[in-house]
């Protein structure tokens, strides 16, 4: 019996070339679409993380927290020497570190009001931000101590132009209301949801406004050579800091529900904890963009649904075809049974044929998807597009996790086998005399 049934099954596919091509083509098309979605989703998280890291100027962040005697929590790093010592002690390397402070503020201009997060960093020295934030109007040369950079959308909603004075209202660290005036130095290209809620201001200026002293700030971001090294860096830094006796918040979230991301859960857990004095939390860009991971999960889910819907249609085609094949080959079935082929081997003949069809179609589909990905990634969308957050240097990029590709092939193979199973069973059940008589 060795290989004869698979051999016949494989050759049977070439008997009706057009039919096999159409069925295999339908499978290939479905797999191609699903692989493209998977490829997009696979690269999505990496691109978003990388672009976020650039926007936020860091892959790993250390945030300081302090409790006032009245129990109010302040976000502040008063002395960062201990953090840098921990980095040095654990032998960690990074490209550069960025000190930031953040405040949620209401911006006012000629009766219009809008809520924004003002991110304070050293605009004069942070060359990295200068590279990543693309300006539509104004220039980096016009940056002054009280400068603010707004995204296009925000500038348009406030109806401001470079040079306009904008008033910001916010709370200081200790909870007092305060206002400060900023000069709009430049308008940046809208970079998606996050870009449109982030405005950049000078660290020293915002620190003074919210009540931080010189040299103090809220968070320290480390930009690494490779995004993938983030988790290892954070873990070692955390261990090193803990070893130095620095009080730290737990890194892993203790509470997680479907409505919160692990990062949100971590923040909530930190708020619930009882502590005193100064504490630090260490987190990575991946922790922050965990919400983007939910988008990936949704995309993967959608691709699975598409896969199932497409293949529900293909399955009907396969089922009908194999029923037709059964009647076309009824004489062969009768002959094979007469010369000694067992029922299960007849079933296996049909199932092998279906399996080869599925595997051929799936492999062709993956190859087509790879070609399509290569072609799509050649298109330069530029950095001026709002979708640049999900792109890699203005190009679409794809990554198909091998496990996902294998899973797709397995799902297709299983569905095709299921579609061919009943005709195969019917063929196997056929009495040889009936098959031979029907064929006459």
């Amino acid at each position: 019996m060795k290989y004869i049934i698979p051999r016949i099954a494989l050759r049977n596919l070439s008997r009706q070339k057009k039919r096999s091509f159409l069925l295999g083509g339908a499978i290939a098309f479905g797999i191609m679409i699903v692989t493209l979605i998977n490829g997009f989703a696979g690269a999505f998280i990496q691109n978003v993380s990388e672009n976020f890291a650039y926007l936020m100027a860091g892959h790993v962040f250390v945030q300081g927290a302090e409790k006032t005697p009245s129990g109010k929590r302040l976000s502040v790093i008063r002395d960062d020497s201990i953090i840098f010592a921990a980095v040095r002690d654990s032998g960690l390397s990074y490209e550069f570190a960025t000190k930031t402070s953040e405040v949620s503020a209401s911006l006012y201009f000629e009766g219009k009001r809008i809520q924004q997060t003002l991110t304070g960093l050293d605009l004069a020295t942070n060359l990295f931000i200068r590279e990543r934030v693309v300006l539509r109007q104004g220039s980096w040369d016009s940056i002054g101590p009280d400068s603010i950079i707004l995204s296009e959308k925000i500038a348009s909603r406030l109806n401001v132009q470079p040079g306009d004075r904008i008033t910001a209202s916010f709370q200081t660290l200790t909870g007092q209301n305060n206002i400060a005036d900023f000069t709009l130095a430049a308008i940046s290209i809208d970079s998606g949801i996050i870009g449109s809620v982030m405005s950049y201001v000078n660290l020293a200026y915002i620190n003074e406004a919210i009540g931080l002293r010189s040299g103090e700030y809220m968070a320290l971001g480390f930009m690494l050579k490779d995004l993938k090294a983030s988790e290892a860096f954070a873990t070692r830094l955390y261990t090193s800091m803990a070893g130095m006796g620095i009080q730290l918040f737990e890194r892993s979230a203790k509470e997680e529900s479907s409505t919160t991301t692990p990062f949100q859960a971590m923040i909530r857990a930190q708020r619930k904890e009882n502590w005193e004095g100064s504490r630090y939390s260490v987190y990575t860009i991946d922790d922050i963009v965990s919400q983007a991971k939910q988008i990936v999960v949704a995309l993967d889910g959608a691709s699975l649904v598409i896969l199932l819907v497409l293949f529900a249609i293909v399955m009907i085609g396969i089922n009908n075809t194999f029923r037709m094949v059964m009647y076309e080959r009824i004489k062969e079935i009768g002959t094979m049974r007469a010369v000694g082929v067992q029922r299960k081997e007849i079933k296996s003949l049909f199932l092998n044929e279906a399996l080869f069809l599925a595997l051929g179609g799936a492999v062709a589909g993956i190859l087509l998807a790879l070609v399509a990905m290569s072609l799509l990634s050649l298109i330069d969308f530029g950095m001026n597009t709002p979708a640049f957050m999900i792109m890699k240097n203005g190009h679409l990029s794809f990554f198909v996790p091998p496990f996902r590709a294998v899973l797709n092939i397995v799902v297709i193979a299983a569905l095709t086998l299921l579609a061919a199973y009943f005709p195969a069973k019917a063929a196997a059940k056929m009495e040889p005399a009936v098959a031979l008589r029907t064929a006459k």
Binding site: M1, K2, I4, I8, R11, N12, S14, R15, K331, E332, G334, T335, M336, R337, A338, V339, G340, V341, Q342, R343, E345, E431, P432, A433, L436, A439, K440
Partner: protein
């Protein structure tokens, strides 16, 4: 002991709401090495009897004994194994597997079942059969590249490849011209002589009936003549 014994066999088919009595109770036995013709007009029950002897159809009543053993209680798996080990089939429309070439079609039954033949022995045997049926130059050709006569020669070689005791041929010359038909019958007769294989063939061709050494003639599902010729077996052993 008879190689085949058919005892009180009846076969009824449902045809819509009525029942067709294709075989109405027949008795006969076949000896090892017989070259036997089951003759009769269309609808007389030849093919039905052949199918029941070939274990591809079951009698509605009665019993078919193969090599002395009753077959009615056997499962489908056992019947399939018995067909493979004891019987060879030749069909009116040749029934070759279109995706296999001449050599592979003949080899096919050897790849079934559990018995394995050594590669060298198998090659020698198949090559001998191919030469015997005169297709030495056609071994790599697919069935659609062969004439009707050539296809039937392949079918004969395939039927013989497992060295069965009995070969059943259902109207083996019906789709062939008379000259090719005669060659096929001559070939079967020669193999019957050389290998002592029992050949049972159904036909309504009078010329072919004449070559047989045992004739069973049917009419309306009943035996009307059961006769041995050319001294094959003893006339007294013919049972009806």
């Amino acid at each position: 002991m008879s190689i085949i014994e058919v005892r009180d066999v009846k076969k009824t088919y449902p045809l819509g709401k009525v029942e067709v009595h294709a075989v109405k109770g027949v008795n006969f036995s076949i000896e090892k090495g017989d070259f036997i013709s089951i003759a009769g007009p269309s609808g007389s029950g030849k093919s039905t009897i052949l199918n029941m002897i070939g274990l591809i159809d079951k009698p509605s009543a009665g019993e078919v004994f193969i090599e002395g053993k009753p077959t009615s209680g056997l499962s489908d798996k056992e019947l399939t194994r018995l067909r493979h080990e004891v019987l060879g089939f030749i069909f009116q429309s040749f029934n070759l597997i279109p995706v296999l070439n001449v050599w592979e079609n003949i080899e096919f039954p050897l790849l079934l079942g559990k018995t394995r033949v050594g590669a060298a022995e198998k090659k020698e045997w198949i090559d001998w059969l191919i030469d015997e049926v005169g297709l030495g130059d056609w071994r790599t050709h697919k069935p659609n590249e062969l004439s009707g006569g050539q296809r039937q020669r392949v079918a004969i070689a395939r039927a013989l490849v497992t060295k069965p005791g009995i070969v059943l041929a259902d109207e083996p010359t019906a789709n062939l011209d008379s000259s090719t038909g005669e060659q096929i019958i001559e070939l079967m007769k020669r193999i019957n002589r050389d290998l002592n294989t029992t050949f049972i063939f159904s036909t309504h061709d009078a010329k072919i009936v004449d070559v047989a050494d045992h004739i069973i003639r049917l009419k309306d599902g009943l035996i009307v003549e059961n006769r041995r010729l050319n001294g094959a077996g003893s006339p007294g052993q013919v049972r009806e």
